[in-house]
Amino acid sequence: MPVIEVEHLHKRYGEKVAVDDVSFTVEQGEIFGVLGPNGAGKTTTVECVQGLRRADGGSVRVLGLDPIRDRTEVRQRVGAQLQESQLPDKLRVREALDLYRSFYRQRADIDELLADLGLTEQRNTAFHKLSGGQKQRLSVALALVGCPEVAILDELTTGLDPQGRRDTWDLVERIRDRGVTVVLVTHFMEEAERLCDRLAIIDAGRIVAIDTPSGILARVGTEHRVHFRPLDELDDSLLAALPEVTGVSRGGDEVTVTGPEQVLQSVLAALAEHKVRYAGLRVEQPTLDDAFVSLTGRHAGRAAATQPPTDKRSS
C-alpha cells in the first residue's frame, strides 16, 4: 500500500487556483521530491497532505487515513518541517525538543536525536543564538521527535550556505535509512537530483512529470554538450557530418558540439583520426534544470539557474 495517495487534488484561494489537478503516490521508504518554481502549488499540495488545508476537490490518503477527518492520528505519524517556521528566541534546543516530544505517543530519544543531527553541543543554546544551519537542523529534529513514519520537509535548504546544504542532504539520507518515508519539497534541481528516488515536477498547479531523476532526464532527452579548443586547424563540417552530432558552433576559439550521450566518444575519435590536438575539454551533461526548462519552458529558481557548468560530472 502506498504511504501517500493524492488523486486529482484541487485547491483554490478565492478566485486563484493554487493546485489545479495533482495526482501522485509515495511509496514506503522512498525519498519523494515535489519540485517546481515558487508559486507552483508545492506547499499547498503538501499542506493538504498534512491536513493543514482542506482540498476543494480530489482525495488525499496518508497511511490509509484521511488527513482532515483523522487529523490527530495523521499528525501522530507524520512529522513536518515547515518553510520559514521559527521558535521563540529564548527557547533552548533541548527544551524545544522536550516540549514537542511531549505531544506524541511515540517519543524519540532526545540525546540520540541531538547527536544524529550534530546539535549535542548546542543543546543548551537559545534559538536566536543558533546559526541558520543549526536552526534548520533543529527544525528537522522537531519533525522527527515523534518517531514519524513519514517526514515532510519543505524548502529544507533555502538560505543555507553550500556546506550547510550538503550536510543537510546527508541528513535526509540518514532519515530515509531509518526507514522513514521522506517527502521533500524543493525548488533546487541539484537537491532533487542528488536525493530523490522519484520526483514530481509541478508547474502552475499541475503535474508536469513524475519519474526517477534519470527517467525524467531520459524522457526529456536533453543533449550533452562537448566544449574544447582545437589547437590545430579544424573543419567544422567534419564534426557536423558525424551521425551522433546534432549541432556544431563556435564561440571565440571554443568549439561546442551537441548530441546524445555518445557524442563525446565520436568527437574524440574524429579528432584523433584527423590528428587534431585540443585543450580545455569539458562535457556538460543535461541536468534536471535543463529538463525542467524543457518541460515547463522556464527556470525553476534563480539559485538553480546560477549553478556553474557541471563539467565535474564528465569524468
Binding site: Q50, R75, Q76, L82, Q86, P88, K90, L99, G146
Partner: protein
C-alpha cells in the same frame, strides 16, 4: 494534559527570561506607587475627590500591573507566535495550537496575580496601607478586572495584522484607558460625560471597584457588570476573529 502542562512550564520559563516583562510586573507598579504615593501621604492635608482616596493609588497600581500584561505582553507574544509561524508549526503536531494560547493566558494570569500580590504587600508595608477591608469584594473586583483586560488583550491579538501592530495598538489603547481611569486628571474634575465614560471604561471600573472594596465599601454592581460584560464580549470576538496565520 501532559502537553498543556509542558507548554505552560515552557512559556513560564520564557516569560521569566524576559527582564523587561519582569520589570513591568514586579518593579514598575510599586515604583510608581512610591514616587506618587509617598509625597502625597507625607502631606498632612489629604485632598478631597478621587485622588484623595487612600485606596486610589494602590488600586491603580494593581490595575496597571494587569493592564500592562494584558495589553502589552500578551498581544505582543501572540503576534510574534503567529508571525514566526509557531502556531502553524504546532498545527502540524497532534496538539491544537489553541493550547499555546491557553498556556500564554495562564502564564500572564499567574504573573499578573503574582505581581498584584507583590504590589499589594509592598503597599501594605511601604505605604502603611491597611489590607483590603472587604476581601470578597476585593477578590471579585480584581478577578473581573483581570478577565476584562485580558479579553481586550486577546481581541488586540486577534485583530492586529502583525506583531508590530499589536505592539503599538496595546499602548495606544492603554494610555487613553489610564487617562479615563483618572490616573492624571481625577475623574471628579473631568467634564461629566467624560467622567461617566471613565466610570465604565475597563481600567476605570477596575480601579473603582478595587479601591472601593479595599476601603471596605461594596464595589458598584453596575461597574462589576460592565467588567463582566466586556470580558465576555471581548473573548467571544477574539475567538471569532482569531487568525492562526
Amino acid at each position: 494534559m501532559n502537553a498543556l502542562t509542558k507548554l505552560i512550564a515552557v512559556e513560564m520559563k520564557l516569560f521569566v527570561r524576559e527582564p523587561v516583562s519582569l520589570f513591568f510586573v514586579f518593579v514598575l507598579p510599586i515604583g510608581l506607587m512610591l514616587v506618587f504615593g509617598l509625597p502625597q501621604r507625607g502631606s498632612s492635608a489629604q485632598g478631597a475627590g478621587q485622588h484623595g482616596e487612600l485606596t486610589f493609588l494602590p488600586a491603580l497600581a494593581l490595575a496597571l500591573t494587569i493592564g500592562m500584561l494584558a495589553l502589552f505582553t500578551l498581544p505582543m507574544a501572540l503576534g510574534v507566535y503567529r508571525e514566526r509561524r509557531v502556531l502553524r508549526r504546532l498545527a502540524t503536531t497532534p496538539v491544537h495550537p489553541g493550547l499555546l494560547l491557553v498556556a500564554q493566558v495562564v502564564v500572564n494570569l499567574v504573573m499578573g496575580v503574582a505581581g498584584a500580590v507583590v504590589t499589594a504587600i509592598g503597599v501594605r508595608y511601604l505605604l502603611d496601607q491597611s489590607s483590603p477591608a472587604n476581601m470578597p469584594g476585593f477578590v471579585l473586583a480584581f478577578l473581573l478586572g483581570v478577565a476584562c483586560l485580558f479579553a481586550i488583550g486577546l481581541l488586540i491579538a486577534a485583530l492586529a495584522p502583525s506583531a508590530r501592530a499589536a505592539q503599538s495598538i496595546g499602548p495606544a489603547l492603554f494610555f487613553p484607558l489610564l487617562f479615563l481611569a483618572g490616573a492624571w486628571l481625577p475623574r471628579d474634575q473631568m467634564p461629566t460625560v467624560l467622567a461617566r465614560i471613565g466610570d465604565y471604561s475597563p481600567l476605570g471600573a477596575t480601579v473603582d471597584t478595587i479601591a472601593a472594596s479595599w476601603a471596605g465599601d461594596s464595589p458598584a454592581l453596575s461597574q462589576l457588570l460592565v467588567l463582566a460584560a466586556t470580558a465576555v464580549l471581548g473573548s467571544v470576538l477574539a475567538t471569532r476573529f482569531f487568525r492562526w496565520e
